[in-house]
Symmetry: C2
Subunit: 364 residues, 2 copies
């Protein structure tokens, strides 16, 4: 496992976890891995990371303010937004901190294993049309999205805010969303309105949207300039987290032990299945190892149905008596492939090291 | 804090938590405490504890088998069940392990803080009518409910199974449920059919129900005779967990810190609010302490609308600069009152010690 030379501030090297990490884990939740069986994740099984508190917003009183460097500032009601062109996209969303628990020393934050992912059918209106209507000024550089949720991080009190470059904000797939899986957006997923940026990690998909502001310089808010950056040292500016690295996950086969989650699988032919995704390019290949990454074989991939949603894969395995570590890894059409081991960084982001599932096959 | 004399097998005394506990915490999730604002918990915000895996059940192929010591064994389709008398009840459900993390030494299991609770509007058909139709034999003693989910616990491979005495199974409020909050039961809550036993901790509300068996002696399955018992030593039979002890929870006021979840509250008048419940009797009193349990004052209670659902409470607080520990506690009409400190037992059950919320009020 890749480790830093020391244990920097904000990280720990101990194997066990702190009360605060567990408090976060109990509050935020991953997908139940068996829910990888569904092409669209049922509400309540999609991963969920809530930075602060879910705010209480009255949809009748709520408005979206669109301002800053625009020709015609606007204030829209939910009705206004729902009367605009309507699109539905199937999008896989993943937390940028997914996989963090495997890093050593471990960044002190939400201790995700591999389960911080889900796929929704998101319905809303393209952002581009709205931005064109309000008219971006020539000196517009970024678009800032402000949520209604607030809290403190490292002593900095803030509303949750993230930005996109004008070029990214104008991409046709970026949308303002008011429905999930054919239902009004649940409170925990951003009711009444959220941003969805297909292909990007979760932090860009601002929930409980209340304001869109066009600005003429790079946004310096906490979640943009401090958090969500790949750094090895606290004093470097770091590289901003954006698109989702490739990952394949399998539905753990057999039956689990309650406490350890280790699996028991019956000897004989078993179909290993799961899903794979990348925010850079279509997934081109999924490989499976049943010997802890010593040897790999190709899984069968389903056809890609949606450009920003995961694809299904399957692999036939002859389970023989013994203890096995099953792994899977994805490679996308841009040549990005999952690493075998975590690539360490200070915040614990983009850790797409391969999933390992321990199974025991009893003698018949 | 109450502690045992030693650290028995299956418990730890360390402050930090194991990887397995965190794996469970990431998979199972509590209510987001701010969701106590809703009288009915939105789907996805209700607590969820899944012993094994959520099974994949095809509602067209699924049937419920009713057999054992009955006059006329039956096999019912989902359509059969949905054509029976339909009732909707608002019921507060809580995990029997809620509060476990406060115990010391700590039982190694799902490390709940205080958040393993939720209230649903459950729709289904009374169990009693069905049992009367199939006709219980005179020697019937218990009714066993078998789920479709299986796994191992402490080396024992099993389907999830729990029983009720005939008297409890025939109580009019016990129901077979196929809808939650007006929607088909979500997979994670037991689709297509679950048992709901109002007033009882979660373990009795068997999900993914596949079989009901009437038997002539007390059921000895793992979840009945081994798990979910109040014991101080592994070799005692213990007292079975059943009805929910009283508890009050507050919506944490102000805004949170992301990592510690400690709160910042503005000085001045603040309304503390929350909900309280008991599976024994109506909640009669909720008290609030703003000085870490030194002094207590009565909160205002809403009228009880549903016999098995929580009631709202509120309390006016003059927040003054400083760091405060806010507490609340419930007392029910049977005289059960929450303890200030956990009452230790080996499995970490029924720990209804008062909630403590740390807030800092800055100088103006």
């Amino acid at each position: 496992m890749t480790t830093a030379e020391s244990t920097p501030k904000g990280t720990v090297s101990m194997a066990n976890l702190t009360r605060e990490e567990v408090g976060l884990a109990t509050r935020n939740h991953g997908i139940l891995l068996e829910a990888l069986r569904y092409p669209v994740t049922p509400i309540g099984m999609h991963y969920l990371l809530t930075h602060y508190d879910v705010p209480a917003l009255d949809p009748a009183a709520w408005t979206l303010e669109v301002g800053g460097l625009v020709t015609g500032p606007a204030r829209l009601t939910l009705e206004d937004i729902m009367s605009r062109p309507r699109v539905t996209q199937r999008v896989t969303m993943e937390c940028a901190g997914n996989g963090r628990i495997a890093m050593s020393p471990r960044p002190l934050s939400q201790p995700w294993g591999v389960e911080a992912v889900g796929t929704g059918e998101w319905t809303g209106t393209p952002l581009r049309g709205l931005l064109e209507e309000v008219g971006l000024s020539d000196d517009a550089v970024e678009v800032v999205f402000t949520g209604a949720d607030s809290g403190t991080e490292n002593g900095v009190e803030q509303r949750y805010e993230r930005s996109l470059s004008v070029a990214n904000a104008l991409r046709e797939e970026v949308m303002l969303v008011y429905e999930l899986n054919g239902q009004p957006l649940p409170p925990q997923h951003g009711f009444p309105l959220r941003l969805v940026v297909p292909g990007w990690y979760g932090m860009g998909n601002v929930k409980w949207l209340s304001r869109i502001t066009v600005v003429d310089e790079p946004f310096q808010g906490y979640q943009q300039s401090h958090a969500y950056r790949i750094r090895r040292h606290a004093d470097e500016p770091g590289i901003p987290v954006s698109r989702i690295r490739p990952r394949a996950l399998m539905i753990p086969p057999g039956i689990p032990d309650f406490y350890t989650r280790e699996r028991t699988v019956a000897a004989g032919p078993t179909t290993l299945q799961g899903r794979a995704w990348s925010g850079f390019a279509p997934v081109e290949r999924v490989e499976v190892s049943t010997d802890n990454g010593m040897t790999w074989a190709d899984a069968v991939l389903e056809a890609q149905r949606d450009p920003y949603a995961w694809v299904g894969w399957s692999y036939g395995w002859q389970a023989q008596a013994g203890r096995h570590q099953l792994c899977c890894r994805a490679t996308d059409a841009d040549g990005n492939r999952q690493p075998l081991h975590p690539e360490w960084n200070l915040g614990g982001f983009e850790c797409n090291a391969v999933q390992r599932v321990v199974v025991t096959v009893p003698e018949r």
